[in-house]
């Protein structure tokens, strides 16, 4: 069974690691994450889960602004020019045991990920702290790179920091500079029984309101174009929030307050003065109208559907 977020956080506390945690609605992309924690102290990270032709896996964790060229990396690792690809969706669940959009260095805590090679952006070292998902997309944890190292050492991994934007020549006299990081052990895929247990675990963690894992699991496995990328939708995670008024209210308030916070700043206060309130209100309306209508329509439709289902499955009155 994969580690859960709570277990990871407990681990960090045990190790007396300083970190800050922020809960937010499920996010699948750095841009979405930025909406919730972008204004907090800490640099956002983008995390790629990759594999090579020999079925070895890599996590590349970089600052959101760092340019990562897979072709260059592939050469530097000694895998040739096109040796690195985005890992398939199934591998995310099997090996890292995290949901879509949740690749994170913390995933290495799972035994199934013991052969995964982690490449960290050396840019992390100069940041006061950086954001990573703690095995779940509804939270972001800000942690300093030294503390991240402490964690990695505690699970027996040696942190490897790399200048991800460097492009050193690779040739006869210049061996690939990152070749030493490539996992040497043969990768052992979890055996079938283990696989079933872990996939059930994944579903259990994300039970949708309607309790129909078959429908949503089918959607997750479908080989759509977007399946390779972090951004692909996670049907199970998203559908669960539309039946829950509390979560929706939280999301709406998050979005509204984030606009308020981003608009009420020094330059706007000077510019608009007493009109600041009007300006912020207009901003909120403009940016959120469509989104809120969409959210509430989905809420209505979800509620109606639940009622409909209940009605059509109603037991006849016992006489």
């Amino acid at each position: 069974m994969g580690y859960a977020k709570e277990q990871l956080l407990a681990r960090l506390q045990e190790l007396q690691i300083d970190f800050a945690q922020y809960e937010h609605p499920v996010v699948l992309t750095v841009e979405a994450q930025a909406k919730y924690v972008g204004h907090m102290k800490g640099a956002l990270s983008k995390n790629l889960f990759l594999k090579d032709k020999k079925h070895r896996f890599y996590i590349v964790s970089a600052l959101a602004d760092t340019k990562v060229d897979l072709k260059v990396l592939s050469q530097r690792l000694g895998l040739g020019k096109g040796g690195l690809r985005m890992a398939p969706e199934e591998a995310l669940g099997e090996i890292l045991q995290v949901p879509l959009g949740c690749v994170t260095p913390f995933a290495l805590v799972n035994d199934s990920a013991r052969h995964v090679c982690l490449l960290l952006d050396q840019g992390f070292k100069s940041q006061e702290c950086c954001f990573f998902h703690p095995l779940s997309n509804d939270m972001s944890v800000a942690i300093n790179s030294r503390d991240l190292d402490k964690f990695l050492n505690s699970i027996g991994k040696t942190p490897a920091y790399v200048d991800l934007e460097a492009n050193p020549p690779v040739g006869k006299d210049q061996p690939p500079d990152l070749a030493g990081l490539v996992p040497s052990d043969a990768v052992v895929l979890p055996d079938p029984s283990e696989k079933i247990a872990s996939s059930q675990g994944l579903e259990k963690n994300h039970i949708s309101v309607n309790n129909k894992p078959t429908a949503t699991a089918a959607k997750a496995v479908k080989p759509s174009n977007a399946s390779q990328k972090e951004k692909s939708d996670s049907a199970v995670n998203l559908s669960s929030s539309f039946g829950d008024p509390e979560k929706l209210v939280e999301e709406i308030l998050e979005k509204t307050t984030s606009i308020v916070l981003s608009e009420v700043k020094e330059e706007n206060m000077e510019k608009y003065r007493e009109q600041l309130g009007t300006m912020v209100s207009n901003s909120i309306r403009k940016q959120l109208s469509l989104e809120l209508k969409s959210i509430l329509s989905m809420f209505k439709n979800t509620s109606y559907t639940e009622g409909f289902y209940a009605g059509t499955h109603r037991q006849p009155k016992r006489m």
Binding site: A226, D233, S239, T305, E306, F308
Partner: protein, 399 residues
């Protein structure tokens, strides 16, 4: 009123527009199409009237002339002003799983009409048609119908006012009775004239038009409109569907029904340029609802036909050709802010703004749209589809 349409397929046409083919040498000439089909232009006075009657700004597609033609929309508005409601009817032929933005256009507009006028909507999924024309199995076409239903639902239709049905599931009963009544009014020669059937076409095709015509009559939906035989119908659709409804309008008075009114749109141009419709079979001709932000950026940058000049100096000198520039056209569809669009058109047309900037803005807007759609789509469960498709009363459909 309706023009004589007996010879339209025999003429040597530069442009071909019918439900199964849209092509032209160069751009589609919409003026000619309106003239040939005999429908009316939607002018600003109607658009203003819509705004007044609904108490909200007209939809961006109306303001920008995306929905540009109509038949009898005046009468719908007149009746509405008198307190007489109407219902909406639109549909989709589920031929592929991949929906692109062009497919969403009529649904986005229909949703606006539902919200603005507070009227019910029926959505027909012509799985039988695709089974026949695209030679799909019955099961596959039914499966596609359900999959497409999810994307349609994701456009935000109100479940308490919307009935979605697939032909394979719903045809029968009152619907079928209307189909037969309609069929009796249309001669074989007429249907050949309208749709261009030949002796080689199988009889399924020939007998299909009544299926698409029947939803125009309220008695086809006894669970919704019993006792409301007088209820009018408004059909938002792309202009290539006009032939079906010309036939239906011809038949309606003979059956004692109102003629269905139509409100028609242009074709959504393909990424590579304005020579026809987007095609679900060419992935680079369109932006799909399953495309990631990266895909969208890539497609816009690589494939969107640019009206900009070939060099920066020439561009600054001559400006962009807005007539053929696809990014600007797409912004016309999806950029809500009229002022911003005007600004872009002016600056780009004068050469002060470069293609890259226009494409960047478009990518932003489309990515947000597709993200929102994807999220909504993810919330659509099979139970929700069942609920939308259940033959059930809609007591609040006019609220």
């Amino acid at each position: 009123m309706d023009k004589n349409n007996s010879n339209e397929n025999q003429e040597q046409e530069e442009q071909v527009v019918n439900p199964w083919e849209v092509s032209a040498k160069g751009k589609i000439d919409y003026e000619k199409l309106i003239e040939k089909f005999g429908c009316q232009r939607l002018d600003t006075s109607i658009i203003d009237r819509v705004a007044r009657l609904t108490g909200r700004p007209p939809h961006v597609f109306l303001r920008r002339g995306v929905f540009f033609a109509h038949r009898d929309f005046h009468e719908i508005l007149d009746a509405y002003e008198r307190g007489e409601k109407f219902y909406l009817y639109t549909g989709r032929g589920p031929s592929s799983e991949a929906l692109h933005l062009g497919h969403l256009v009529p649904f986005m507009f229909t949703k606006y009409l539902q919200d603005a006028f507070k009227v019910p909507l029926v959505i027909q999924l012509t799985d039988d048609e695709k089974c026949m024309w695209k030679n799909l199995t019955v099961e596959e076409s039914q499966r596609l119908a359900r999959e497409n239903a999810k994307d349609i639902i994701a456009c935000g239709f109100d479940i308490s006012k919307t009935f979605i049905f697939s032909d394979f599931e719903y045809v029968g009963g009152s619907f079928y009775k209307n189909m037969v009544k309609i069929a009796k009014c249309v001669t074989y020669n007429k249907v050949v004239g309208i749709f261009g059937f030949t002796g080689e076409d199988h009889i399924g095709k020939v007998s299909f038009p009544p299926v698409q015509a029947a939803p125009s009559f309220p008695s086809s939906f006894p669970h919704l409109f019993t006792g409301k035989d007088n209820l009018r119908c408004l059909i938002p659709c792309a202009i290539d569907q006009d032939p079906y409804f010309r036939m239906t309008r011809d038949v309606a008075p003979r059956l004692g029904y109102h003629k269905p009114a139509l409100i028609e749109s242009l074709f959504f141009p393909a990424l590579q340029g304005e020579t026809g419709k987007m095609s679900a079979s060419d992935p680079n001709s369109a932006i799909y609802v399953t495309d990631s932000g990266k895909d969208i950026k890539n497609k816009i940058n690589k494939y969107a036909f640019s009206g900009g000049q070939d060099s920066v100096e020439n561009h600054r000198k001559y400006g962009a050709n807005l007539e053929v520039d696809i990014p600007v056209k797409y912004l016309g569809f999806f950029l809500e802010d009229d002022a911003e669009l005007e600004h872009i058109r002016t600056e780009y047309g004068a050469g002060r703004m470069l293609t890259g900037e226009v494409k960047k803005r478009l990518t932003e807007i489309l990515t947000e749209m597709v993200e929102r759609h994807r999220r909504a789509r993810a919330a659509v469960t099979d139970e929700m589809v069942d609920a939308f498709m259940a033959v059930r009363p809609l007591p609040n459909m006019f609220n």
